[in-house]
């Protein structure tokens, strides 16, 4: 009796493990990066700018916060936000919040990133994430995709800049609201928000 009970229990456990494994595979494909988790600390990293000069996060971070935005040269969604990203950088520089663009697309070489920034009048720092190391670490999947770090480099907001590619239709300024909240020392009402974007073209 005891033996059959033990056997049934073992069988149930084995089946549960198989089911869990199957669900996990369904939920997350092997080639997908792990998603960013609000509250995680972002360790310092070093990436080159389009001229090849290395920069650390520590050297570029803002006193009160840092916005990392994964951007692209060829993505129409990312390009639709060029002016808004530049304005964001200018508006918050005086408040101790810096904006750093990161290009992780393997299809867009550093020379293209450099000429694109000049052509689109992007004056904030732009780094080239060769091999998607930082995109993988943060779980960045598309462009534009923002990660807001507080003064201690803790991730406090992740996702879209606002809720419409068309500036005339914007009704939720999620990223600006999150920055304003940390500057005011208040909790961020919405820590994650989504929008459509171009997938990051990762290195093979």
């Amino acid at each position: 009796m005891k033996r059959s009970y033990t056997f049934a229990l073992t069988l149930a456990l084995a089946l549960s493990l198989v089911a869990f494994g199957s669900l996990w595979r369904t939920a997350r494909a092997a080639d997908e990066p792990a998603p960013a988790i609000i509250g995680m600390m972002i360790e310092d990293f070093t990436l080159p700018d389009p001229n090849g000069q290395a920069h650390t996060l520590a050297s570029l971070k803002g006193k009160h916060g840092t916005v990392l935005i994964f951007i692209a040269t060829r993505c129409p969604v990312s390009n639709g936000y060029n002016e808004r990203m530049e304005k964001l950088a200018q508006d918050y520089a005086a408040h101790g919040v810096s904006v750093i663009g990161i290009n992780a697309n393997s299809t867009e070489p550093a020379s293209e990133v450099k000429s694109h920034a000049a052509e689109k009048h992007l004056t904030f720092a732009i780094l080239k994430d060769n091999g998607n190391k930082i995109a993988d670490r943060l779980g960045a999947a598309h462009t534009p995709e923002a990660f807001l770090l507080d003064a201690s480099n803790k991730l406090v907001y992740h996702g879209r800049i606002d809720n419409s590619l068309n500036p005339a239709n914007v009704s939720a300024n999620d990223l600006r609201d999150a920055i304003d909240a940390i500057l005011a020392g208040k909790p961020i009402a919405k820590t994650e928000a989504k929008a459509f974007g171009c997938s990051i073209k990762r290195a093979e």
Binding site: T26, A27, R28, A29, E32, P35, R74, P76, V77, A141, H142, E145, G159, R160, N163, S164, L165, N166, N169, S171, A172, A193, K194, A195, F196, G197, C198, S199, I200, K201
Partner: protein
């Protein structure tokens, strides 16, 4: 003896449902082959409508939306694209009652998305191969609604696509993204396969691998 009779009744019901489905599929094929907006097409549409009525109203919005092939009077023979709002997405994803409970494949794309354009020929081939095997397939463009009669149908026409086509028309995309898959961040292209119970059984962000998708389709259609 009684068991045999029950089994025989079950087999008859299954065969009947299969034939009914095949009838629908054949009308779709007739319309696709006849060209666009022809008399034969309209006759076929009426036949389909009568078939739906015969089913006693069990044909849901999903069947209505996806059962109709793209039709247009455009000289370019551009496929018809329907606007899809948040309520439409909800209905599209809702489980369908038998006998119309079939797997559903959804591909999100945009004309400005390079990998979306690159993978589209594979999707067209997959639609052509699996449509008659009982698969619902919807392509959902997230282009600006102003592209409803221009860029989107033009691209679909170039692709010779007969995949039922929709253009998302929502003020905020986040609820749509979350309703399709809470783990999806919104990157394009994105392809999701739901089984006939409405559960996601395969998903891929970025350009699809046709072999992987076909394997998933074969599996879900054999269940």
């Amino acid at each position: 003896m009684m068991l045999r009779r029950i089994l025989l009744a079950l087999v008859c019901c299954t065969l009947g449902a299969t034939l009914l489905d095949r009838y629908d599929v054949s009308t779709v094929a007739v319309r696709a082959a006849d060209g666009i907006g022809s008399d034969k097409t309209r006759t076929a549409q009426k036949r389909k409508s009568r078939t739906a009525k015969k089913r006693g109203g069990r044909t849901t919005l999903v069947a209505t939306l996806l059962g109709e092939p793209p039709i247009s009077s455009s000289p370019l023979h551009a496929p018809s694209v329907k606007l899809l709002d948040a309520a439409g997405i909800k209905q599209l994803l809702a489980p369908v009652a038998p006998p119309n409970d079939r797997p559903l494949l959804i591909n999100f794309w945009a004309t400005w998305c390079e990998p979306c354009r690159e993978e589209f020929p594979d999707l067209v081939r997959i639609y052509n191969d699996y449509n008659s095997r009982g698969l619902y397939f919807a392509s959902i463009s997230i282009d600006d609604p102003s592209e409803l009669k221009t860029g989107v149908p033009k691209f679909l026409s170039e692709m010779h696509s007969q995949i039922p086509a929709f253009l998302l028309n929502v003020t905020d995309s986040e609820p749509v993204i979350n309703s399709v898959d809470p783990d999806w961040g919104g990157e394009l292209p994105a392809t999701f396969l739901f089984d006939k119970h409405g559960q996601v059984v395969f998903k891929h962000k970025g350009r699809i691998n046709p072999t992987e998708l076909r394997a998933a389709l074969d599996k879900v259609l054999s269940e």
